[in-house]
């Protein structure tokens, strides 16, 4: 088959915050740059981010990058790499100023500076008291960010391939990344993008869970492609859950609802958080509330016919307060839970929100993996940034507003690294023979499968398996069963069948391809979670409880290390956490408590 080859200096897969930020660096350096996206760039999931982006500008309160660094290390439960964290926190101010120059309409103080608001976990003076560090553009931060960067890219002549799906990474015989294969949805045509640098910026994979705040687009394509190309995935056991997603829909109900007096109740109508967190009650941190909810459900005090959710109650608030202070919440409840929260409580469950792990990178955005001698080596030609990457700055738990910062800082550093590497090389390396064969074989299998499994069934199976076995609170026996079950589900995914065989706009085919990526992420997450026998950050096991020897269940002697999962043989390896920052002293291990 004759597969068209498009030649670029650099190809970026993903047009969310991280992809657009990288593209600016490449195009403005004069490189011929392609950006591929499953959707129009300004429809990427970054739009959903409202809370803002963290930077120690010090406009509203005195602040310092070192304090931000401390908060991030602590938030990560010491699993974050301290060199990358120092890098990110030091670069934050510049990242925000760059955005401002691109035309981002940040909220302002009266004297014209960028206005900053507080956000959980961000403190001044090494954990002393909350600091206002988040920069936002009303409740449209992500949206405004994408628009500003998209415009800048248009000006810089970045070439966009919209409604294209990247399928697989192309590596040559020496393992160097030399391009990707991609499918144009409108025509069904497979094309090879031959390039000197490939940057993955494909976002999160939250759709592996049944209950997820993530939009449907978050199917972990970048992770699937990396895993199939032999690259390990790092720290995939760490998923952040948000306590209040609407049961059955996943749509996020903001923390503000509890801030205004909303309370959680079980089937006995009890305000159960009083038992778990006598002081903070319903306002305790996300992980504490999520685990309490799960315990209530597990012990049979959940609500509804299957007793599998709890209730978020605001019926005691004045309707006027609800309308004024919590606009949008009433409509979300009516549209997605079918209840008017003025009259009835909202069914909620802890809901998957953010993926801390991903494709392993260093702080310069290079993808790194152990070489034959076990040394962490750069994979030439390959870079990653944003939620699909693991630098690792979020470690075992991400702080709110640090993710948008991660996109900007590592989007830029990945772009800069790619520019330097491309300029140092004289020409494109050759494509391997039949570079598209692997992708074509996958497509062919999907097109010709008979008596197979529908995409709908396979996705349900993945999501249910993850939700039931590797949710917010984890149990040794369930994790073990989960591993067996997800490998069974994988067999179903190998037999995906689609009824529609057309070429043009065959969305069934695209969804089958997405499912093949979801299963890689699901396996990585389940197997990594089963293997890590301690509790840390978002990974909390029933059999690793809080004891004097292991506060919070964390066991630094054995488990202060990053997980690496390999697709081949489902092998697990570990690598050390980088405890040495770039210029300052190590932030020493301590028990994480707020």
């Amino acid at each position: 088959m004759n597969i068209p080859v498009f030649k670029f200096d650099a190809v970026i897969v993903g047009a969310g915050g991280s992809g657009l930020r990288s593209a600016i660096q490449l195009s403005e350096a004069g490189l011929k740059t392609a950006v591929l996206s499953k959707v129009f760039p300004t429809r990427s999931h970054t739009v959903a981010a409202q809370g803002g982006v963290a930077a120690s500008l010090g406009n509203s309160d005195a602040d310092h990058w070192h304090w931000h660094m401390y908060d991030t290390v602590k938030g990560s439960d010491w699993l974050g790499d301290q060199d990358a964290i120092e890098y990110m926190c030091r670069k934050a101010v510049e990242a925000v100023v760059d955005l401002e120059h691109y035309g981002m309409p940040f909220d302002r103080t009266e004297n014209g500076k960028i206005y900053q608001r507080p956000f959980g976990g961000h403190m001044s003076n090494f954990g002393e008291k909350p600091v206002r560090r988040s920069c936002a553009a009303a409740d449209r931060t992500g949206h405004a960010m994408l628009h500003a960067m998209y415009q800048r890219n248009v000006k810089a002549n970045t070439q966009f391939f919209v409604e294209w799906m990247a399928l697989d990474l192309i590596r040559d015989s020496e393992g160097v990344v030399v391009g990707v294969t991609a499918l144009e949805m409108e025509t069904g045509q497979v094309v090879i993008f031959h390039s000197r640098a490939v940057i993955f910026a494909t976002g999160g994979s939250g759709r592996i869970f049944a209950s997820s705040t993530n939009a449907f687009i978050n199917t972990g394509d970048g992770l699937g492609m990396a895993a199939r190309a032999g690259i390990p995935l790092e720290d995939m056991e760490f998923w952040q859950f948000h306590p209040t997603g609407v049961a059955g829909a996943g749509v996020l109900i903001t923390e503000g609802v509890r801030g205004e007096g909303g309370v959680l109740r079980n089937s006995d109508h009890e305000r159960f958080m009083e038992r778990y967190a006598p002081n903070a009650k319903d306002l305790a941190s996300r992980d504490v509330v999520s685990r309490a909810m799960t315990t209530e459900i597990k012990e049979g005090r959940g609500c509804g016919p299957n007793k599998d959710y709890v209730l978020l109650d605001i019926t005691h608030l004045e309707p006027a307060t609800i309308m004024k202070r919590l606009p949008g919440i009433r409509e979300i409840s009516m549209q997605f839970a079918g209840v008017d929260p003025i009259k009835e409580p909202i069914p909620v469950v802890p809901t998957c929100h953010y993926q801390m792990g991903g494709i392993p990178t260093n702080y310069a955005g290079h993808v790194v993996a152990p070489d034959a001698s076990g040394r962490q080596a750069i994979i030439p030609g390959f870079y990653a940034a944003g939620e699909c990457a693991c630098a690792s700055v979020h470690g075992a738990n991400r702080l709110g507003t640090n993710s948008l910062l991660d996109l900007l800082v590592f989007g830029k550093s990945a772009g800069d690294s790619a520019v330097a590497d491309v300029k140092a090389e004289a020409a494109h390396r050759d494509l391997p023979a039949n570079a598209a064969d692997y992708s074509l074989a996958r497509l062919n299998a999907i097109n010709t499968q008979k008596d197979g499994v529908s995409v709908f069934e396979a996705r349900q199976a993945i999501a249910r398996t993850m939700q039931d076995h590797a949710g917010v609170f984890r149990f040794a026996d369930l994790l073990k069963k989960g591993v067996t079950q997800i490998l069974e589900v994988e067999k179903q995914v190998r037999r995906l069948e689609i009824k529609d065989k057309s070429q043009i706009w065959n969305t069934a085919r695209v969804e089958a391809l997405e499912t093949e990526n979801l299963i890689e992420v699901a396996k990585a997450s389940m197997i990594s979670a089963e293997a890590r026998k301690e509790s840390r950050g978002a990974h909390v096991r029933d059999d690793a409880p809080d004891t004097p020897e292991f506060p919070n269940g964390r066991n630094d002697k054995e488990w202060l290390k990053h997980t690496l999962w390999y697709r081949e043989g489902n092998r697990i390896a570990y690598k050390p956490v980088q405890m040495t920052p770039l210029t300052v002293d190590t932030i020493a291990l301590k028990t994480r408590s707020y």
Binding site: R43, F209, G304, P305, V339
Partner: protein, 108 residues
């Protein structure tokens, strides 16, 4: 390329399905995706065209309209937006918190 001329009927719907279920916000994936399955076929041709036009708008604009946070001033679009909003509330009333929907329901 986005306005490809030779799109068949099936392809038009497939493309629309993609644009309704791969949006920036989960709220809109759910709302537009379900509306497309359940109500779109019964719309008049004129309304269908307007729905397609709306599906090409951005969520930051569309969500405030269908959630009633903002009023859409365009009287041409308004009836379909009202319909979406009413559909959402009616669909919500049937919401089953016990049934999780990990992906857009049925495949073509």
């Amino acid at each position: 390329m986005r306005n490809g001329a030779a799109l068949t009927e099936g392809a038009v719907i497939s493309r629309l399905r993609w644009r309704c279920t791969r949006r920036a916000m989960l709220e809109m994936d759910l709302l537009l995706g379900r509306f497309l399955e359940e109500e779109f076929p019964a719309l008049s041709l004129e309304e269908q065209k307007i729905f397609m036009e709306l599906a090409d708008r951005e969520d930051a604009q569309l969500w405030p309209w269908v959630s009633g946070k903002e009023e859409c001033a365009d009287i041409r679009l308004f009836p379909v937006i009202q319909r979406l909003r009413r559909y959402g509330e009616k669909r919500g009333a049937r919401a089953d918190p016990a049934s999780v929907s990990p992906s857009p329901a049925r495949q073509p």
